[in-house]
């Protein structure tokens, strides 16, 4: 294997721009793409067709979970039966979001990971080459154990300094998406490097890697370091299987430098993810709903940051909180974070994607304005005729208390509200 070059080149074992066939180390699909992949798999006319390496395959129910109607329930029933019959890892309703589940001690640094979901780039935060595909590609992986890849060119996102005040990893993510634009990373990989990565907890790295696809990128990689190892071991991963990585002799097509000390709370203003503006510029904008959750910002640390602000206060608008996984839910429960959120007047939904894809549990009505910690504010996505601003959990918390968009930098602990 090639030991120098970008992390993508090292993991895929070939130079950028080349095409390679690789067996995958892990692959996963959810109730939505998995059901489509099942239809594709059943239509394959491959002689002696079988599911290859089922121990590397996961099915995770998160998108419309629990099912909202009989059609969804039937599709989920078929996939549930198929995954069990074929001895895939099956994660039932309530487990949480696929990317979060896979980040909790399953995916390891250096692995090739493919998910049937666009945000599969999230696991790049652990030093895995992880990318998204569609349903038929996933069915092909079930049938053959592998797929083809184009080894991407890489863009370096160079982080320096340290976040301060109420600036959060989400604000960094919105910053680099703005810098690159919605197609600035198309066909490429992002590599997050620089001194600023060392102090960033893995939960924050997951937030940064998660939004790589919003620039069109194939994945968003962090080099696995002692924090990565600690994170994985917390979830029970075997230390002997965790290899640390460091940048060596890699050249980037371009670099974007972000000084974390200068990051301020940001919003992605409707209807583009790359349309980031300081929260203060929209201070006072009236909102109808706040949503906290998703594979971007539904982790325990996100819930805790949100709870630390709303604790002992009452939210002024309907506020929906959806933990990213059962583990995040349990941790929030045992630490009192969930009761702080509940007592502040929020609705707590079961772990999963919640309203992010506009299917259930918090879809907006026409003319309504929402504030969300999710990753996409596309027109009509979370409600036809609605507007959605994207922000960090702290911005969501302060805004929920005021009933209008407010920057956490304006928050004085509730003294003047």
């Amino acid at each position: 294997m090639k030991m120098v070059g970008t992390l993508s080149e090292r993991i895929l074992g070939s130079a950028e721009g080349t095409y390679v066939d690789r067996m995958v180390d892990r692959a996963f699909a959810h109730d939505g793409t998995g059901a489509q992949a099942l239809v594709a798999f059943e239509n394959f006319r491959i002689p002696g067709k079988s599911v290859v390496n089922p121990e590397k395959l996961s099915i995770i129910y998160d998108h419309i979970s629990p099912a909202n109607n009989s059609v969804t329930a039937d599709l989920q029933g078929d996939l549930r039966k198929f995954s069990r019959e074929n001895r895939m890892h099956f994660h039932e309703v309530g487990c949480g979001i696929c990317h979060q589940i896979m980040s909790e001690g399953v995916c390891l640094p250096g692995e090739i990971v493919v998910g049937a979901d666009s945000h599969s780039c999230t696991l790049g935060a652990l030093g895995a080459f992880s990318t998204g595909v569609g349903a038929t590609d996933m069915a092909g992986i079930w049938a053959t154990g592998g797929t083809w890849f184009r080894v991407p060119e890489s863009i370096g996102i160079v982080l320096s300094g340290k976040l301060s005040g109420h600036a959060e990893p989400k604000d960094v993510a919105l910053s680099y998406v703005k810098a690159l634009g919605m197609d600035g990373g198309t066909y490429k990989a992002l590599e997050f490097i620089g001194d600023g990565t060392a102090g960033m907890p893995v939960e924050g790295r997951l937030t940064l890697s998660n939004m790589a696809v919003e620039t069109g990128a194939k994945t968003g990689l962090f080099y696995a370091d002692p924090l990565t190892r600690e994170h994985l071991m917390t979830y029970g991963a075997d230390e002997k299987r965790i290899s640390l990585q460091k940048p060596e002799d890699c050249s980037y097509e371009s670099e974007i430098c972000l000084d974390l000390d200068n990051i301020e709370p940001l919003l992605a203003v409707p209807h583009r993810v790359d349309n980031a503006e300081p929260v203060t510029r929209y201070s006072g904008t009236s909102i109808d709903q706040v949503f906290v959750g998703t594979c971007t910002n539904g982790r325990f640390e996100d819930l805790k940051r949100f709870a630390d602000i709303v604790k002992g206060q009452k939210v002024a608008v309907r506020t929906i909180v959806t933990p990213a996984s059962k583990d995040a839910y349990a941790k929030a429960l045992s630490t009192g974070v969930l009761s702080d959120i509940l007592e502040a007047g929020c609705v707590i939904c079961p772990p999963g994607c919640g309203p992010c894809l506009g299917a259930h549990m918090g879809v907006l009505g026409e003319g309504e304005v929402g504030l969300s910690t999710a990753n996409r504010n596309f027109r009509n996505r979370m409600g036809v005729g609605a507007e959605y601003y994207l922000c960090s959990p702290s911005t969501a918390a302060v805004s929920a208390l005021y009933g209008e968009i407010r920057s956490p930098d304006e928050w004085d602990g509730g003294m003047t509200r």
Binding site: Y19, G32, T33, N43, R45, A116, S118, G134, D137, T186
Partner: protein, 158 residues
């Protein structure tokens, strides 16, 4: 083989939610995707897709990995998608479903006749010929077979 169709022109950064909205994804009836294609973008488009070549702006198919977006176009009778750049999952989805893709910055009007040669990487309008970025040999094999199913099953037309 030369294939042609009338141009249906759309703008930049049209995401897969715009091609087929999340509320229509869970169904076994593929005609629903045809009926509601582009509903949140331009409700007049769905009726014009049959026999068309979709001429999109940059970054077509960004966002969700939903294969229903590519399937909706294929089912609706779109013959090829032409754009200066594609979101990569949508690109793979089109190839896997046997829907021709051409990475080229084509200038044309709605209704113009667009033709392409399935064996060569170019697209023609009445005024100009555009060279598209070549596909990898694997992508060509999958497309020529008619999609990943036929390619893996070894039953595609050579």
């Amino acid at each position: 083989m030369i294939i042609s169709g009338h141009a249906v022109v759309i703008g930049d950064d049209v995401d897969t939610d715009m091609i087929i909205a999340g509320r229509y994804l869970r169904t076994t009836d593929r005609s629903i995707w045809v009926e509601h294609a582009f509903e949140d973008y331009d409700q007049r488009l769905a009726g014009r897709l049959n026999g068309s070549v979709l001429v999109a702006g940059k970054n077509i198919g960004c966002g969700s990995s939903r294969e229903q977006a590519a399937a909706a176009l294929k089912e609706a009778g779109v013959r090829a998608v032409v754009a200066p750049s594609f979101a990569r999952i949508f690109f793979r989805n089109c190839v896997n479903l046997g829907l021709y893709v051409f990475e080229a910055d084509v200038v044309c009007e709605n209704g113009d006749l667009i033709s392409f040669d399935t064996d060569e990487s170019y697209v023609k309008t009445s005024d100009a010929v555009y060279q598209a970025k070549p596909l990898s040999s694997r992508m060509k094999e999958i497309l020529y077979a008619g999609g990943l199913n036929a390619y893996l099953s070894g039953s595609g037309e050579p």
